[in-house]
């Protein structure tokens, strides 16, 4: 696949948009701290007109690399039951039905554990005396930068489920141009929600045993979802060639390598995008973008 490609620099960066394509690229990794945000932000900054949506609602960091304060777009809520204890007969049907054990009825006492509730509405349907209505339960907010080129979500402290926020964030993507999603780490439901419905997934890893182990887990997820993907090796040089060998055995395209450079780490630590301080790295992202353009 790689051998069929033209050499670097033979195309311009705007290939995808020139073709008028609507492309959704998700940047993911099983392991945290491998460089998802580094890749997502620098890619967004290297491709004019793109929109970046940071789906890591438990710890969004992309905004640190963009100028300007984030402004509130809207609050995100899920429905939660409200119990009318005048009507309630304490029959316990709601508690028995709730799959998340968010309701408990003991004698003439009803306990509701809001943090366990997924807002499915089942208790309201099953209540035989219509004692349950619904209200909004806030779980977080969505924000955007002044230029509206960056959006992110923030899960409220002590709230366990960020997926509804990720779902709303993904709904912000327009059906035109390039949208880049920064995924949460891991391979569970938040990561799946971020990756799903993308046209392409960039898996960021580092060339270490932890990086390889978590890359394999993420490859399983992306293969199950069934979208094209490739690997970016970050901090190239710190470990060994196991990741590269794995990729070649599995016929997974190696899209780019970001060198292990203390200067990059220092710029990152101060919230400075590397393409801005080291223009020489811009080429890596332009080529990465170009390469993806040919694969979707």
């Amino acid at each position: 696949m790689l051998s069929e490609e033209k050499g670097p620099g033979t195309d311009t960066v705007t290939t995808i948009t020139d073709r008028g394509l609507n492309v959704r690229i998700t940047v993911a990794s099983g392991k945290g701290g491998t460089g998802k945000t580094t890749i997502a932000t620098n890619l967004a900054l290297s491709t004019g007109g793109s929109v970046l949506i940071d789906c890591d609602v438990e710890g969004p960091n992309s905004h640190i690399f963009f100028p300007g304060p984030m402004k509130k777009l809207k609050e995100v809520s899920i429905p939660a039951p409200e119990f009318d204890l005048e009507k309630c007969t304490y029959c316990g049907k709601c508690a028995e039905f709730c799959q998340y054990n968010a309701i408990s009825v003991i004698g003439e006492k009803l306990l509701f554990f809001e943090e366990l509730c997924h807002g499915c509405g089942g208790c309201k349907i099953i209540c035989p005396v219509n004692a349950i209505s619904e209200r909004e339960h806030r779980i977080g907010i969505m924000e955007h930068n002044p230029e509206r080129t960056l959006f992110h979500g923030l899960l409220d402290i002590s709230e366990p489920f960020g997926v509804p926020i990720i779902r709303e964030l993904k709904g912000l993507a327009k059906n035109e141009g390039v949208t880049i999603f920064d995924s949460p780490p891991g391979t569970a439901c938040p990561a799946v929600e971020a990756i799903r419905d993308s046209d392409f997934c960039i898996l960021v890893t580092e060339p270490t045993p932890f990086g390889l182990n978590d890359l394999k887990l993420t490859v399983d997820v992306v293969r199950e979802i069934g979208i094209p993907f490739g690997v970016v090796v970050n901090r190239d040089g710190i470990g060994d060639d196991q990741v590269e060998r794995y990729c070649s055995e599995e016929k997974i395209p190696l899209l780019a390598r970001i060198p292990n450079d203390l200067e990059i780490a220092k710029a990152y630590s101060n919230g400075t995008p590397m393409v801005e301080v080291f223009p020489r790295y811009r080429k890596i992202f332009e080529e990465l973008y170009e390469r993806i353009g040919r694969m979707v």
């Binding site: 491998t34 799959q99 402290i157 391979t187 887990l217």
Partner: protein
Amino acid sequence: MVRELTVISGKGGCGKTTLAASFSALARNHVTADADVDAADMHILLDPEIQRRETFHGLNIATKNDDICINCGKCFENCRYGAFDPDNTLHQEKCEGCAVCELVCPVGAIKMVERQAGEAYISSTRFGPLVHAKLHAGEEASGKLVALVRERARTVAEEHGKDLIVIDGPPGTGCTVIASITGVDMVLIVIEPTLSGIHDSRRIIEVARHFRIPSMVCINKFDINLENTERIMEFCQAEGIEVAGKLPYDENATQAMMAGKTVIEFSDGVLSGNIRDIWKKIEKALS
């Protein structure tokens, strides 16, 4: 009484597993638990021999019998997770297991069935028992699997007369993190001196406070940005959180990982010495 310590960070890749594995090498009478169930790495350093494995059933999942389905659309109307298309096609991967579709289906075409969502293991290692798990790709209910890992770790600790559980926590602030810290005696928050690390650590400090869990902080790779390290020291002081120690950026951490060893076993240098000092402080705080 069994004490529990969880190593967390908010941001991923700050060195949680490197530290937790080192603590496992230093602790004397303990069980280790890997609560990062959807990207577990502890086994790479501890080389476990699995003694017992058990299937983890997460939430049930909807199945639909199209022969019985009358296409009334009630499942589509009532599902809040988008698991049904307008033509009533079921997408199991979007099912959150709430069972509302089964409840509203008038002809019994939908049944909730058990799904195998992962596996949990009790293993032996050169540093005593390890309880760990593997969540299947893209599964729900990772918080439940963390709860299972912790429950098994407590049982193993009681059975073997261990007095401490060292838990390697997941990144973030959501359900897996909450499940890995509720009720523990202390959390060690690993912070790297980057703006991202600081941003996420402020959130995780708030989470620990919300659940009323005593915290200590360790600054990892402190010499990458001394100014940021100073800021972390300042806000920890303002928040009344003890900084147990600062660790330098050291290639030995990666080299140890490559060798499948903990830093403590791999090298006797500065990093290893600093981790020992931090561990002494933690042991004291826990006793």
